[in-house]
Symmetry: C2
Subunit: 251 residues, 2 copies
């Protein structure tokens, strides 16, 4: 059985905290399928620990899961997670594209599910406020089912980014209770100009600063149309329904 030092255990375990992920530029993924995806991805895998090598006890100590899986990898984060110079995105936007803007998603499961949706529907990039939960939080990574390795996500100043999109002749969409029926409305689908779909916070919805920059307010109609029952949809569900409708228009 190969050895893992107590220092290594501490170091790997510390990556469950954002502070240490930021300091080291590393994060962890667990499970055979996820580790396989990491290896096949452009991400740099620094180290892989197998239960058969380091033993059950050490595995339990480094794992973020209630029932540790047989394998855990330490992976290097991409270098462009935080983008300050938004001007460098202008050339990308000039080609059009469909983007998601997360106006502070706090639940790790929601962020993971949104990345999976972005992956399925071929979203060009996801942007998020700096208050959004860290995408390399172990709970987010697991919930993405591998989409974390395929979808580009950047933390940015979201209102400033929206200005860049608007300057490029783009549109900013968001769903609101007083918006207009998404199913009967003309939608720009990102083929001619950059299109950003804003997803609001789980309890606060879209922030006032972002609402001001929304060019088209949409509404996902309940059924029957005048009786929603629930007051709202879950943030990831609203993201799925909105993105799917933009993509459906291209069929």
């Amino acid at each position: 059985m190969a050895n893992i030092s107590n220092n290594d255990i501490k170091r790997v375990k510390s990556l469950q905290q954002k502070k240490f992920r930021d300091e080291t530029g590393l994060f962890t993924v667990e499970g055979e399928k996820m580790v396989e995806e990491a290896v096949r991805s452009p991400f740099k895998v620094e180290c892989i620990y197998h239960r058969n090598d380091i033993g059950e006890e050490a595995m339990k100590r480094i794992s973020a899961l209630a029932s540790p899986s047989p394998v855990l990898a330490v992976v290097r984060k991409p270098s462009d997670i935080y983008i300050d110079d938004l001007g460098r995105l202008a050339p990308e936007f000039s080609k059009g594209g469909l983007y998601l803007a997360l106006d502070t998603i706090r639940d790790p499961g929601n962020l993971g599910t949104i990345l999976r949706i972005a992956d399925w529907f071929g979203i060009d990039a996801v942007f998020a406020t700096r208050d959004t939960v860290d995408v390399f939080n172990p709970k987010v990574v697991q919930a993405t089912m591998g989409a974390v390795f395929r979808v580009k996500l950047h933390y940015v100043d979201l209102p400033a980014l929206s200005e860049v999109v608007l300057s490029a002749g783009g549109k900013v969409y968001g769903t609101f209770l007083d918006g207009r029926n998404i199913y009967s409305r003309t939608l720009d689908t990102g083929t001619d100009c950059p299109v950003m779909i804003v997803i609001g916070n789980e309890s606060e919805g879209i922030s006032p600063a972002m609402e001001k920059l929304v060019t088209d307010k949409l509404y996902i109609p309940p059924y029957p149309a005048d009786d929603p029952g629930s007051e709202s949809l879950n943030a990831a569900v609203a993201a799925a329904l909105t993105v799917a409708e933009f993509r459906r228009r291209l069929f």
Copy 2:
């Protein structure tokens, strides 16, 4: 400050376990909004505990949440959660309707989100296998954001129920990777005959027993159409996209 006995604390706390919920027919809800919804609902509220009355310490002991909310209610479950005699549903089906069939949803967050979706889109009733997570599990109840008080959910023998739907001239839909594009297909929307949409398990999908009873296999197309990126969508997201498309057809 009103008293709460140690026995009461134990009794309320025990309701976090399915065994005791089944024995007593009771469950708990937490938070001001949820308790308010319980009180306004047809559910019978047996007892309400306020932090101001019983104290912080007792509240912490009876709460299922990491940060206990200021109020917790003990609520009686409806009596028709488990349905054995499926024949009694035939008259309801003869009127048509749109139903969800959960082919074993195990994640509490997913079940809660699915109930919220069912509430938003006016699903007539949700049916679930007996292996589906208990809807009165505190995590499910909280994730429903109140939809648990508005959406009818019954645990049944799902294949047997599908036979009843088919006997009533109904349709059984499900999403499969080899299904047909949901956006370009004719759909029965439940206005003329009962329509059941089957949602598969998080990792196994739709079971072979249920697959045999599906009359129409659907597929939610990714974008671009030949490149899904992810291998699948989250169960609650797939439910949302499917249900929304059935309702959209009625606009």
